[in-house]
Symmetry: C2
């Protein structure tokens, strides 16, 4: 894993390579775990990876319809559920949307920086943030099971474009 995977996506990165790598890693990871990355699940994962902006379930539904004919919500939701369970995607709570995970091999929850203008999101996984949260949890006697850390605002490119 290079640092690149955990930074803000640039306008000119090779996104085809992102998709290819994501699918490849998903294949490998599911194989290792004895899980089935079916055609449907693969298609949904690919659609989630169509960009670095979180995608809503109904957007995916519509796009998926082009590949498969009429598709009902549960079809997409079940695939998303599977992908999430495998750590291949994350759900962005503040957007009701999903984004591909660049480091699915390690279980983690990530911290998401989401630009309200371009819609792009960067996933980080910064130990210092987790640790600061853990300290408070310990103090409270709270056992964390799931973390949601989402920051909305302006990415550098959009802020500079504004000014």
């Amino acid at each position: 894993m290079t640092d690149e995977a955990l930074a803000f996506p640039t306008a000119r990165h090779d996104h085809a390579a992102c998709i290819a790598e994501a699918l490849d890693r998903a294949e490998r990871l599911c194989a290792e775990r004895g899980e089935r990355l079916t055609t449907l699940r693969r298609q949904v994962l690919e659609l989630v990876w169509s960009g670095h902006a979180p995608q809503g379930a109904y957007d995916l539904l519509e796009q998926l319809g082009q590949a498969r004919g009429r598709v009902a919500p549960p079809t997409v939701y079940r695939a998303l559920e599977f992908l999430q369970a495998q750590g291949l995607i994350h759900r962005i709570e503040s957007l009701n949307a999903f984004i591909g995970c660049p480091i699915p091999e390690e279980r983690h929850s990530g911290q998401f920086f989401i630009c309200r203008l371009c819609g792009l999101a960067a996933e980080l996984d910064v130990g210092a943030i987790d640790r600061a949260i853990d300290r408070e949890a310990t103090r409270l006697g709270f056992t964390i099971e799931r973390r949601t850390v989402e920051l909305q605002g302006l990415c550098r490119a959009c802020r500079e474009a504004q000014a």
Copy 2:
């Protein structure tokens, strides 16, 4: 503000006092700002404060119906929007629900520890967490406008009750 306001609510705290204080501060704060805390808004705020568990809009809608007769969704959503704009309540994204803010005078986004068993939530506002996040934002060149930090798990009481 005592530390008590920013810790896990205990089973035996004087909740009537919580409600009274919250409404009182809301009145004062709105008066200072020249905002109108109407009967409706006050009722909704009171319902949000009916406990320390985040409340869904439709739960509030139903309860509100008992006080006002039939009430339509926009009525509640608009009141919630106002209360949120004034910092009197926070929205919990991971639950689609709302919770009263114990320190509405200072603008902040808070960090929420939410127990999946008893449903209670504690709002904290820990500088170390914000700073750890800020450092990453700076590194990315990202301008944060809105923060969502929500931790789900087990509160001490529920964990101890489990074992």
